[in-house]
Symmetry: C2
Subunit: 681 residues, 2 copies
């Protein structure tokens, strides 16, 4: 039996599981007329945005496909693979979001019954996204293998799939990120700060745009993001094995004995992760006390079990395929490092620990000190992930050479099916709380959805941490593959070569420029939203008194247009920069460029994600009655910190993950061309 | 005639010029009894702090000297050189600050006569620092040459001098930076924000501490910082020539023909810069209209003339020594890149241009958007410096190989005598304004000192930009020297070696951790100051009404103790980190570590300096009556931005310059030991 069928079967199994989750979610009731109405408005806005976004992306994808087709060393099959990757990514994001927007009101209704019910609906809705991403990923790669696997130029075709997925991801993440944070910041600054009305108050014109944003950014954007991580890590490992490891020898015996193992091993490890995630998902259940502790324990039981199962399955895969046992240790190194990075992220962002409580305390002396303290916290939080990834790299390398580095990335991402579920459930819970607020349900229901939301923030922070770590490993593996594909010798790409150094400096700068562009885009868009909400409050008579309704559509429209426009520049820059560097400064400089971008992107991404998470929770800690509680001066300072952190943690930070992988995979795609071209300088 | 005597003569010339500047400054009147009293309080606080700081540093220096002495491959002459470097650095900082604290009241008095008079006193006081730094630097290096130059192990002894200078610099910069910003932020947050009293109001208990801070941080700290940059760039160039270039051949003829040229050339270029700076200083004069334009033109005339003269002198030096003409182009590349980096910094931080005005505009929607916009601005401002330094490296390398990269750093720093004068005059002008305010002089005098201060902010921003660029080049040259000294082959230190990559990741992380520590230290200290000022306002009867005096000494004491305590951890971490990485991960990883630290430190330093400058000036732009003017909501948001930027631009950012050079020179000092030690892993 061909072991690849195990991958196909696990992919199909994942889809079937997702299908049952969909059935479960949809059989729940959407609630009152009012709730249906809000839900319909969210669905309309989100679907319209995604439709317009995908139309723009289609143009981009077609244009790039044509260019790729005409490049002599690449050709039309690379184009085809690229388009296929883009479609798979868009599909995963679309399905996931489609279920998420249908789950908001259903979660709100379920929470009326019990907390456990609310958790079940929202978590299963997140599970659809998790399962779709991993299943479509593994099935897409299998399809490529079955169709083109026997061609001699397959190693040129395969990276095209990742390039397609990454291209969709960067635009989806940036566009969605701008949308969600512009709406969020805009709604908060006028509503909470200026007018003193609660969050998600129906009088706020930006509130529907805010809900829509959560879906297009935190669900569809994140889905595309992690789809990319997942397939890129597998592609990087396969490519590295095929072009670099197979001819090499470790300790007298081949590390990866043949091409079949090069393909099967990563696919089987990923398959094991899917099955482990499904089993883990069944273990997530909770009683009816809205205690963070119990909820967190429930989710952790799921993810930890999945991790342990994945480790066991990976061992079996290595054993069955008769691969070197060192590879298993490499996978384990990645898996363990991922879990520990998640824990360290939790330590720096949860208000249960001193770093975030210090940020809350700093708000006693105003917004300035709050911002500085949170930022310092974010910077400090880079220590553990860098050291953990460093150790994982060294361990993986010791046991399985560079191949170990690549497959450690798969290890870190293997439980994505369930970790993504715990991530994607967050925005659903958040929105369900909004719907509870807007439709005037009793406070105890809001308390339940708040508990779910709060848990979502914690799991989102953990999820971000390990997504960044995995991105760094994956990008590194892609960079190693690129170097091999471009024919760069180990002795050539020296840190004493000034072109490599200059490339590295430029690479290290690019994530900063990228962040600047995305932060500015959020600022500009939220500025427009703020003015629109202010205008509606001053021009619509009776709005503040609740006698008139705001024009929600206006804000949705502003966000949609702005996000689609603002996503282009940072996205295109990311696509074009490695190509320019490669052709002007040469392939060696491009290698330096990638390493610089990975290091700097890794550090900036962690800083932004954790500083943002820390400000958010520091504010929540104040709201729980500390340092003066809600409405105090300290609270106002905390809200400023949260506003600063919002675009950092939900727009710029996560987009950096995609950025470093996209640039690396572009280098890999263009490696055959660059190998023949020494650079203009 | 030995050309080294030209260096000695120019050094002595610089000291004589500094002496005349001192005479000029001191013959000015200190003003009224009240002004003398304030001035005496500042002198007392500053001298006491520096005394205590130097005592702690003496312990550190002695301890390190003993350790160096006992290490087999280093020995007691390295210790001696280290101690000598530390003493020279401390001396330069001490003399410069000593004159600065005597100039505050004198500038205030001179400004009563005319703006031109005020500029002359403050600028000449800054000139003392500028001249002392370059003269002591060049004389110290000459002394080392004359005493030890003929020894075979001189190339091991020489870096010790830079290590000593860098060690003093990191503690002085961090300690001074914490002192000045804690006092500044503390004074502002209670005085301006909570109590609504003007800046520098005598009722504010932290106001004297704030003045003291400007002197110990922005004068003494900066002096030590740039002394280090200056001597390190020369040491890096000499070392590179002696251990790497001399045996190599370029285009059939030696790039640097012999050892004498290796020594004389950098010293002569630096000497030319001293003479050019003296001439340039004479060209700084202005009429009596307090127009920014005219003041800026006056300073620019001085610095630009000095740049052109330096270029001419450098050409002569290359010509006279019969060195390769390519070296001249490399120097020119550094010089031009430095000037352009200064211009780009000015563009991003001055309110004359759109980036900073956008930050002002963002304050219309609150503190959160102000902070985000300013931070985005800082990130974007990394583009030009990175590209300019990249071009300078490539040009310098094309014309003069790696030697070109090193000497381009000297080119960038050669006009330090005058650029440091324009920098060091800033805090003097700032304090003179404070004295005007505290002693109740008429508003028109304050207007004049404000014009001087505002100009100082612009030149400080420009100066910071080129100091960072020069730091990157110098650190890079030191890293190249380290690699040679440690016996690392070009083909060995590959970006495909995972140890190099892990080292690079750790190196890239360290500046973030360093910033986090210093930002937190400022936060903690200003927290203590805020509580003290608040306590005095509430406990001292009649303070707010001006009937009682605050206890200034308490705040001075808090700052002194806290700064001395808080400077230890980041300073020691910087010293220890490269040694740990080198001995655990090996010399190759240390090379990667240095490159990672340089790239990330460069980017973080520019971001922090320019974001900080931009917030500061955005606030000033609002205060000039834009977007609501003083007292408006926008202004309050602007003040928050400024508070966030303060520790970034005056504590963390500039300390990063020293950090990357210190780590590089430590690697160079320990290279002979590391060459015999492959690393534990």
């Amino acid at each position: 039996m061909d072991e690849m069928f195990i991958a196909v079967i696990s992919g199909i199994l994942g889809l079937i599981f997702a299908f049952f989750l969909v059935l479960y979610v949809l059989k729940n009731d959407e609630g009152s007329e009012k709730m249906r109405e809000i839900s319909a408005a969210i669905q309309e806005g989100a679907t319209a945005f995604l439709g317009r976004e995908y139309r723009i992306l289609a143009l981009f994808v077609v244009a790039v496909a044509i260019i790729l087709g005409f490049i002599p060393s690449l050709g039309w099959l690379v184009s085809l693979s690229f388009v296929f990757g883009a479609i798979c990514s868009a599909l995963a994001g679309y399905i996931g979001m489609n279920i998420a927007i249908r789950s908001n009101a259903r979660t709100a209704t379920a929470a009326q019954k019990s907390l456990n019910h609310g958790l079940r609906v929202s978590f299963r809705s997140g599970g659809v996204m998790g399962m779709c991403v991993v299943s479509i990923g593994i099935l897409g790669l299998s399809a490529l293998y079955f169709v083109f696997g026997s061609r001699p130029d397959f190693m040129t075709i395969l990276p095209g799939f990742g390039f397609g997925a990454s291209s969709v991801a960067i635009f989806a993440r940036v566009g969605g990120g701008i949308y969600t944070k512009a709406a969020d910041v805009g709604a908060d600054l006028v509503g909470k700060v200026e007018k003193g009305i609660p969050e998600d108050d129906p009088r706020n014109a930006a509130v529907i745009a805010d809900f829509v944003g959560d879906n297009v950014g935190d669900v569809a954007g994140m889905g595309a993001d992690l789809f990319e991580s997942y397939v890129d890590s597998i592609i990087a490992t396969i490519t590295l094995a095929m072009i670099a490891i197979l001819p090499s020898i470790k300790g007298g015996m081949p590390l990866v004995p043949d091409e079949r193992v090069a393909w099967y091993l990563p696919m089987l490890v990923a398959s094991g992760g899917i099955v482990a995630s499904i089993i883990g998902a069944f273990l997530v259940r909770v009683g009816d006390k809205p205690e963070m502790e119990a909820l967190l324990t429930a989710l952790r039981r799921g993810t930890f079990s999945a991790s342990i199962l994945t480790a066991i399955f990976s061992y079996l895969a290595v054993y069955v395929l008769k691969a070197d046992l060192g590879i298993f240790y490499a996978i384990l190194a990645g898996l363990v490092a991922g879990v520990l990075i998640g824990e360290s992220t939790n330590y720096y962002t949860s208000y249960a620990y001193s770093p975030t409580r210090h940020v809350s305390e700093a708000s006693l002396t105003g917004a300035g000190t709050t911002v500085v303290r949170g930022f310092a916290n974010g910077l400090m939080s880079t220590f553990a992930p860098i050291i953990l990834v460093g150790i994982a790299i060294l361990v993986a390398h010791r046991f399985a050479d560079v191949y170990g580095v690549a497959i450690a990335g798969i290890g870190m991402l293997s439980t994505l099916g369930i970790t993504l579920a715990t991530d994607a459930y967050g925005p659903v819970a958040d929105n369900s709380g909004g719907i509870v607020e807007m439709s005037g349900l009793p406070a105890e229901i809001r308390e339940r959805t708040d508990a779910l939301d709060s848990l979502g923030n914690t799991t989102a922070a953990t999820g971000k941490g390990f997504a960044i770590g995995a991105a760094a490993l994956t990008a590194l593996a892609l960079m190693l593959s690129y170097s091999n594909a471009a024919g760069i010798k180990v002795s050539e790409i020296s840190l004493l070569d000034v072109r490599v150094i200059v490339g590295l400096f430029i690479g290290a700068m690019l994530p900063a420029i990228f962040c600047s562009m995305t932060l500015t885009a959020v600022g500009r868009t939220s500025f427009a939203i703020i003015n629109e909400v202010r205008r509606q409050f001053s021009e619509i008579a009776g709005l503040m008194e609740g006698k008139a309704k705001p024009e929600y559509g206006k804000c949705v429209d502003i966000c949609t247009k702005a996000a689609l426009k603002e996503m282009l520049a940072p996205g295109l820059m990311t696509v074009v920069a490695p190509i320019i560097v490669g052709f002007i400064l040469g392939p060696l400089a491009l290698g330096g460029f990638l390493v610089g971008a990975i290091a700097s992107g890794f550090i900036l991404a962690i800083t932004m994600a954790n500083a943002g998470g820390s400000w958010d929770n520091a504010k929540k800690w104040i709201e729980k009655g500390n340092f003066g509680g809600k409405g105090s001066e300290a609270h106002k300072a905390g809200v400023v910190g949260d506003t600063v952190g919002d675009p950092m943690k939900d727009t710029s930070g996560p987009s950096l993950n995609i950025m470093i992988k996209l640039m690396s995979i572009i280098a890999l795609v263009f490696a055959p061309v660059l190998a023949k071209f020494p650079g203009l300088l």
